[in-house]
């Protein structure tokens, strides 16, 4: 039932966002109807658009969306999917370029595995800093995104630069290191199949395994999980970080071996950030991520068609995505929604029934508890302000 309601909410919100887009384009004096027609044609309009544009775009969005969703489910605010993706892509490029003669037919698989491992390793830094020193992962993952970006910038001007040393990019991967096409004559590669498998796998793990239970327990109430004695919060946090980083790293490796073939700085147009919107729209449900990932992939693919055929700047799609997120936040605030959504919108976390429209007092109590646990995690005493207030 709550599942149905969420689908209805997302559908309604999407229609509303598209209607707003149509209105805005009209007001700007553009041919709004033609633009929306181009949006449709470029995304779902025909088989080629669907497979070669929408699903190709959707693949990294689904994988990074999953990375964000499982992290947020555990209360791990990993906004470093972008950096983990970049590190995964760079590692896959290095493996594909340097080790293909050794690995032969296994080069592509090795590149993917190495990319996932590298993404996990990158996420491990933030996890270690949080567990050992209480560093807020919101801040550390942003830092790590930039370090990753500059590392890629260095690689494509240094060790991995093409031999002419003119362009800041690597040479394209040799054939064995590339992912094979899923459908002949289209751009769709087997990486999409991996994304297609990863979503139900993540859903199953979260829902039916002990590990998944621990993730949800830690996410809903870390103090309770700790006190109950059955969950090692730190270890769970660490594992979630690693899994999240591996998924994002895999997304980068797939993008490199399936789409771009060469490494360069702008290999990701912000997939790791869009992923947050993808995960939120799905209510942090892995199966939902599959749907919202394809939806966002369609939006971005359609936006390019809209620019080509109706001269509407493709960046307008960012406005639509932002509106979707804000409308979803508002809707969750307005009338409950699923427990996860309610929690995201700042509602009380305890009620599994999903009554997000809890009164302000309950909300504050939940917020206070969470603040307390963060303070404890930071290891810091209640700092100067409160001390002075007391004195």
């Amino acid at each position: 039932m709550s599942w149905l309601r969420r689908v209805a909410t997302v559908a309604l919100v999407s229609l509303l966002a598209l209607a707003l887009l149509w209105l805005a384009l009209r007001l700007a004096g553009l041919d709004a109807t033609r633009a929306l027609a181009a949006l449709w044609d470029g995304s779902f309009g025909n088989g080629y658009a669907l497979t070669s544009a929408t699903l190709v775009r959707a693949t990294p969005l689904i994988l990074t969306g999953l990375a964000v969703a499982i992290a947020f489910r555990a209360g791990v605010w990993n906004i470093g999917a972008e950096g983990q993706l970049l590190v995964g892509a760079a590692t896959a490029a290095a493996v594909g370029l340097l080790a293909t003669p050794l690995l032969g037919a296994f080069a592509a698989a090795a590149a993917l595995a190495a990319g996932a491992l590298a993404g996990a390793a990158w996420a491990w830094i933030a996890a270690y800093l949080r567990n050992r020193f209480g560093v807020l992962e919101v801040i550390s993952t942003i830092m790590l995104n930039f370090v990753a970006l500059y590392a890629v910038g260095y690689l494509v001007r240094g060790p991995l630069q093409e031999p002419m040393h003119i362009y800041p990019q690597s040479v394209p991967l040799p054939e064995p290191a590339r992912l094979p096409r899923m459908i002949e004559g289209s751009r769709l590669h087997w990486g999409f199949a991996l994304a297609l498998l990863a979503a139900p796998a993540a859903w199953w793990v979260l829902r039916y395994t002990a590990a998944g239970f621990r993730v949800r327990a830690v996410g809903q109430n870390p103090s309770a999980a700790r006190v109950a004695g059955m969950v090692d919060v730190r270890r769970t946090t660490m594992r979630v970080f690693l899994a999240s980083g591996a998924l994002a790293g895999l997304a980068g490796a797939i993008e490199l071996t399936g789409v771009t073939f060469a490494l360069y700085e702008n290999v990701s147009p912000g997939y790791g950030y869009t992923a947050i919107a993808v995960a939120l729209l799905a209510g942090l449900d892995p199966l939902g991520v599959l749907a919202t990932g394809v939806f966002f992939g369609a939006l971005e693919a359609g936006a390019l068609a809209m620019q080509r055929e109706a001269a509407v700047p493709s960046v307008v799609v960012n406005v639509v995505e932002a509106l979707l997120v804000l409308l979803i936040l508002a809707a969750a605030r307005w009338r409950g929604g699923s427990a996860a959504l309610a929690r995201l919108a700042g509602g009380a976390s305890g009620s599994a029934g999903g009554n997000g429209a809890a009164g302000p007092t309950a909300t504050e109590r939940a917020g206070g508890g969470a603040a307390g646990s963060t303070g404890a995690a930071l290891g810091g005493p209640v700092s100067a302000a409160s001390a002075e207030a007391a004195g």
Binding site: A277, V315, V325, L329, A371, S386
Partner: protein
Amino acid sequence: MGGAEEFVAAAVRTGTPLALAALGETVVERAGVINIGLEGIILAGAFGGLLASASGSATGFAGAALAGVAVAALFALFAVTMRADQIITGVAVNLLVVGLTGTLYRGIYGATGAALTITTTGTLPIPLLSRIPLLGPALFDQAPPTYLVYCVAPLLAWWLYRTLPGLAHRAVGERPDAARAAGASPARVRWGAILVGGAMGGIAGGMLVLSQAGTFAEGMSAGRGFIAIAIVALGRWHPFGVLAAALLFGAASALQFLFQAMGWTLPYQLFLALPYVLTLLALAGLAGRRAAAPAALGQP
């Protein structure tokens, strides 16, 4: 100017917009709110500055501040009034501003975004001070808003640590419940902090257009909002620390110009990444005292 003077001047020039945005974010984070939307605020400020610059750079800066405040108000509406998650709201705000400014820019100035230049404010040398060797020209022969930054940091430090409203402000960032019990309104404090942070971030964006580039480019904030958030952490949430950290980040990016001028081939990306690594180490307490974030940071 010699190479060293040029380097210090470049460090200050790139560091001051960062400092202004980061000082604004310090106000916000001290109230327990982390505004990832700062990136969008800076971009909106740059665009607002461009739109309003037709009748002089003073109105340009007013427009930049206004644009920043407008974006900040949207953030506050969701993050404070609706108690939505701050990170998600911030990400949405960034997406929104990138899309809006990009679309409007192409809509107003043509599909190609043809090179559009406005006259920059130029520098305003302070008598005597600007003639101090080495540091004088770097610190006191800069665009007028630079001097605003010099004033804001001590003022903010005084206000936060030496006045009653400043104490209430910090209390909201540490223990909102306790602050409420003591008679402060966390929601009002946070709204105020976010709007002030928006104005400062907007002016920082305006500086990019009005004092430096003389033109607007899509996405020209280029991560400065995130850099400012790093600066706040490296500066340990204290105005003077933040000012120093901003200059360090400015120096790191000025190094690349120095390298180019000197013809060195060292990979400057390493120096660009260095401040972020330093920030991580500082947060972990490995580079000096542990940085203490406001206890309620990020809690709705």
